[in-house]
């Protein structure tokens, strides 16, 4: 590599880089990704650093904010479990990528593929013949005491013949420059989707640099994995689904993202049912078979009948379906057994035993304290070890409270070595490794930060594929070896730098990639339910805001809350549970909860519009003064909510989900409007009530256009109940519902018309032929009652 600047002296660009690198001082005794031990920039970084220093003034700041902006716009978050429980947090991007030369990467990939193959063989043995225990290679306690070794799965062969399909490894570089495996993730590794988003964000931050850097692309990995999963189907039109624990899970965003990206169905345990050994998903067209399940749920939760009884997120009978061989699980239930810390102590021996050769990529040295010799060694070398629960499946730096590091507890107390004899097999010790550092950007300068790398592998018909890259966890201080993301680190993209440009492909432009038809999938009932309620709640919020505005406008005009009309309106608002503007935020929150459960089907813009609405409401509502101030704020809320509705109804693809959303909106509007008509056209209503009804129905202009006279009971009923051309009338809502219901699948044997459609048509006809005179108070409240009952009818046919 004669063209690379070497030891002969700093080239020009390094002088320019001096400012950027002024604080970059690799730590003694620790490898550094950017610089070698002499302080020279490693070859793989040179072009990148040159490009970085060549950026115009301020461009670096702009670049990082572009990356952050991308993640915000994409709605990327992960849930952080901490003091303020379950708060969503922006994905913490460390803006600079980690660069790895392609030659070095090939060596890593070979080692990881070998390791994945080994783990597959271990899986097949511990859930099969059990020779590793019988031959004395692993002690029986490692399984008997392993909370992830699931006895009901012993003897169950996976349909495809393979237990593992998607695994991840955390790896790090030790002081001698060699890579070590820090932990194996075989249960349900998360992060592949985050890796993709991290790549997109970094590409957004440094588009020019990236395009010049020969970065190997990662889309191919996803295509191959997607095709491999499609190939695992039973070949009978059954589906691939991703099983998520639900929106409260810390990586739910990723589940939704990857489901959308790969075109797979996203389901929760309650969406599934086992029927005669077959796994089915409840959809609006009835139960439909699922034959491949990408499990993002820990095994123990997957079947409350045979595994954890308390699980609310599992599917009773799932293990029965696996025994029956109707489902390919990615990965096999019970694969978490390979994740325990103590197993790492035995993997070198297992490799020798099964393959006759040592691991190409070793894991960090581990000792299981169940053996006397290992215990003695650990006791003698406590100062260079961490000691933690043997059966822990935590990440290498994610320790429980009982951990001791270098012989001391987290409180700094030295551990009594006799404790190790007492606790024996429940402990495992691991050598403390100082991980290499990589550049992070801090106040416009580069600083060295410890990092570990997560790498993903997917099984395909041609063997394991390694995602070229993945992501790196980067610690936020150079002193701490703690790079666990939930503890405040950041994530950076990993660029595998090739010799030439990767022509590549991207899944986002399917036309370029040998397009494969996505699977046709019916809408799961739960998703339909959430879309329906999303429609209802946003409409409900809008309705209440209109009524509140009407009230505060009158208060502003008259200044008298004690006037009959104002009192009447205040009472009505009270019956809606809407005494103050704050109350409306509840409906928006409920809408967000519904939207949150269907992130895979819901546009990011729609989500952002809704969160923006809530934020505005939460900021303004508590401070509003009654009267003019509140009325103005309500107008602001109305504008934002119309923005949301516009986005959804203008941009949403007219598939079944959109119909449920629209039915929800129409049903809520019909119900709210008929209630308003009951209250404000009644004989008992005070003077001026008709105007309220018209304002609530947002039909002031229509009324003025249609009637020369002021609003009265008859004109109001005509406009808001019976006028087919008024998009706010009850009749119009029924017509809309009728229209949407006609498109919904009818999956029941028996009558071709669902009860809900029959009832909607009956009500529509009634109103179509009626005149305003036909409606007294009693008949009106009948309409309101019938409208309310439609929800139950809809649920009966589609939402369960």
């Amino acid at each position: 590599m004669s063209d690379m600047p070497g030891r002969s002296g700093p080239p020009d660009w390094m002088a320019r880089a001096a400012r950027l690198l002024r604080d970059y001082k690799p730590l003694a005794g620790v490898a550094d990704e950017l610089m070698d031990t002499e302080g020279n920039v490693r070859p793989v970084w040179i072009n990148f650093l040159q490009d970085l220093t060549a950026l115009p003034k301020d461009e670096l700041t702009l670049a990082t904010s572009r990356g952050d902006q991308y993640l915000r716009d994409a709605g990327v978050f992960f849930r952080h479990y901490g003091p303020e429980d379950g708060a969503e947090r922006d994905w913490p991007l460390s803006h600079l990528p980690l660069l790895i030369d392609i030659e070095e990467w090939h060596q890593i990939a070979i080692g990881l593929i070998e390791r994945a193959d080994l783990l597959e063989r271990v899986m097949a043995d511990i859930y099969g013949p059990g020779t590793l225990v019988r031959d004395g290679v692993i002690p029986p306690d490692l399984l008997a005491g392993n909370p992830e070794w699931l006895r009901p799965m012993v003897g169950v062969r996976p349909r495809s013949g393979s237990f593992l399909h998607h695994v991840a490894f955390d790896i790090g570089r030790g002081p001698d420059g060699n890579w070590w495996v820090l932990c194996d993730r075989t249960q349900a590794p998360s992060g592949a989707g985050f890796a993709l988003e991290t790549r997109m964000a970094t590409a957004r931050a440094f588009p020019d640099i990236m395009s010049r850097s020969n970065v190997v692309r990662i889309a191919r990995f996803f295509r191959l994995f997607r095709d491999a999963m499609l190939d695992l189907r039973n070949g009978d039109g059954s589906r691939v689904a991703i099983l998520t624990p639900g929106p409260m899970n810390d990586t739910y965003f990723e589940h939704a993202y990857i489901a959308r990206y790969l075109g797979f169905l996203l389901v929760q345990g309650e969406d599934l049912v086992v029927h005669n050994g077959d796994l089915m998903v409840h959809t609006v067209s009835g139960p439909q078979p699922v034959s491949v399940l990408w499990r993002r749920l820990d095994s123990n939760w997957i079947d409350p009948l045979e595994l954890r009884e308390s699980s609310q997120i599992g599917t009773p009978g799932m293990l029965g379906a696996l025994r029956a061989g109707s489902v390919n699980m990615v990965n096999a239930v019970g694969s978490g057994a390979l994740e325990i810390r103590a197993l790492m102590a035995f993997l070198p021996r297992i490799a020798e035993h099964l393959t006759g050769k040592p691991l190409a990529l070793p894991n960090i040295a581990t000792w299981w304290c169940g053996g006397a010799a290992a215990r003695d060694y650990v006791k003698a070398n406590l100062d260079r070890m961490t000691l933690d629960r043997a059966m822990s499946t935590g990440l290498p730096f994610d320790h429980g409270e009982e951990v001791t590091i270098a012989g001391r507890t987290p409180e700094g107390e030295p551990i009594d070595p006799s404790r190790i004899d007492t606790l024996a097999g429940s402990l495992a010790a691991q050598e403390i490794v100082s991980l290499s550092t990589t550049p992070a950007l801090e106040n416009g300068r580069l600083v060295p930060r410890p990092m570990s790398l997560r790498v993903f592998l997917a099984r395909t018909p041609d063997g394991w594929q390694v995602m070229p890259g993945g992501f790196a966890r980067v610690g936020n201080s150079s002193e701490s070896a703690n790079v666990a993301m939930q503890k405040g680190g950041a994530v950076s993209d990993v660029w595998i730098v090739g010799r030439e440009k990767d022509a590549g492909e991207t899944l986002l432009k399917p036309a370029e990639t040998g397009f494969r038809r996505r699977q046709t999938v019916s809408l799961p009932s739960r998703a339909a339910d959430n879309l329906f309620w999303l429609g209802r709640y946003t409409e409900r919020a809008e309705h209440k805001i209109r009524l509140l505005r009407a009230y505060h406008l009158r208060l502003a005009e008259t200044g008298r809350p004690d006037l009959p009309l104002n009192e009447y309106l205040a009472d009505y608002l009270e019956t809606l549970g809407c005494e103050t503007p704050m109350a409306t935020t509840e409906d928006v929150r409920a809408a967000l909860r519904s939207a949150g459960s269907i992130r895979d089907r819901f546009s990011v813009d729609g989500w952002n519009a809704l969160t923006d609405l809530l934020r505005t409401m939460e900021r303004l509502a508590p401070k509003l003064r009654p009267g003019d101030d509140a009325a103005r704020a309500m107008s602001v809320f109305l504008r934002k909510i119309s923005g949301f509705s516009g986005l959804v109804h203008e941009n949403m693809y007219r598939f079944t989900g959109w119909r449920f959303l629209s039915i929800g909106r129409a049903m809520e509007r019909a119900w709210a409007t008929s209630n308003v008509l009951c209250a404000f056209t009644s004989e008992a209503a005070p003077e001026g009530s008709s105007d309220i009804a018209i304002e609530a129905g947002d039909s002031i202009m229509s009324h003025r256009r249609r009637f020369a006279v002021g609003a009265g009971r008859e004109t109001v009923l005509d406009l808001l109940l019976l006028d087919a051309l008024n998009p706010r009338s009850v009749l119009h809502q029924l017509t809309m519902m009728h229209e949407h219901l006609r498109y919904l699948p009818v999956h029941h044997e028996g009558p071709r018309m669902t009860p809900v459609l029959r009832q909607v048509m009956r009500m529509e006809t009634d109103l179509a032929v009626a005149t305003a005179d036909d409606f007294d108070d009693a008949r009106l409240s009948e309409v309101a009652g019938e409208t309310a009952a439609l929800t139950g009818l809809l649920a009966q046919s589609y939402l369960r």
Binding site: P139, P140, R151, G317
Partner: protein, 294 residues
């Protein structure tokens, strides 16, 4: 000894229960050398949509059933004729605890019969330091694994009052231990926790107990429903022994085995509740009659 066994378990649901699944472990086991099932039948009402018989990890027979449609009541009936053999007298040839631990490390198997399964916390029996401390205290002075086991079983019996009202099917072990009351399930779980805590592999046996005692003997506790007792591994030579802490005795001719596992979770007679909004009532009746061959 020959028994005619009948069991009826019935569930009544206030509101119709949604479609559901169960695993049943209620039929006596055929155990060569220990007991022989001459005839048995299991009837289920209403007839389930699915019914599959299989063996679980611990080699117990179990029946998976499912209902596609909502049901308002379910009833499970077992009738069986079982011949129970005399268990060999337990001559104490068990090792002391350090030797027992050593024997365990020599035992290289993870099959269903491996004692290692029964040493670690299981779903219903966690590690309870206060039970273990108590066990250490009451068994002080005993040296062999079997004498420790026997002493602890007796101490559980003597320290606890049989009281069906005190605990529920899901009362945690340590709570029953503090209450000093409970039924066979609690007696058994407490004994298991104590034995495991001392390093003796211990598991759960569910089964039937003869209803009426032989003439001149007292009626046994727990004979009116399905019963539970303990099994403990007392070394390679002595193997598994079964003891009934509820009745302060070795399990023997009066005990008919249905299933063996780590704790109640592995063996619940009827597993998997139906999804229902309302309350449910359960009735259970058992009759284990000695049959005199004519």
């Amino acid at each position: 000894m020959l028994y005619d066994i009948s069991l009826k378990i019935a569930y009544d649901y206030d509101s119709s229960a949604d479609a559901g699944r169960h695993i049943l472990r209620i039929v006596p086991a055929d155990l060569p050398g220990e007991q022989r099932v001459i005839a048995s039948s299991l009837t289920i009402h209403p007839t389930p949509s699915e019914r599959v018989t299989r063996r679980d990890f611990f080699d117990n027979a179990c029946v998976d059933i499912a209902y596609d449609d909502p049901v308002s009541e379910t009833e499970f009936r077992v009738t069986a004729r079982v011949e129970r053999h005399d268990a060999p007298p337990a001559l104490d040839v068990s090792p002391d605890l350090p030797s027992l631990a050593n024997e365990l490390t020599q035992h290289a198997s993870i099959g269903p019969a491996a004692p290692h399964h029964f040493l670690f916390p299981s779903e219903r029996v966690a590690y309870h330091p206060e039970i273990v401390a108590w066990a250490r205290e009451v068994s002080a002075g005993c040296f062999t694994a079997f004498s420790i086991t026997r002493t602890i079983c007796d101490a559980v019996h003597d320290g606890l009052t049989f009281d069906p009202e005190a605990t529920m099917v899901d009362t945690p072990v340590d709570e029953a231990f503090r209450l000093k009351r409970g039924v066979c399930q609690d007696f058994t779980h407490i004994t298991i926790a104590a034995l495991r805590g001392l390093g003796i592999p211990a598991g759960y046996v569910s089964g039937y107990l003869r209803t009426l005692p032989p003439e001149g003997e007292e009626k046994l506790e727990g004979a009116d429903a399905m019963h539970a007792w303990v099994r403990a591994w007392c070394g390679a030579d002595m193997g598994w022994v079964e003891l009934d802490p509820t009745n302060r005795m070795l399990a023997g001719l009066d005990h008919v085995v249905v299933a063996r596992g780590r704790d109640y979770f592995d063996l619940a007679p009827v597993k998997g509740a139906l999804r229902t909004a309302g309350a449910q009532t359960t009735t259970q009746s058992v009759d284990v009659k000695e049959v005199h061959p004519t």
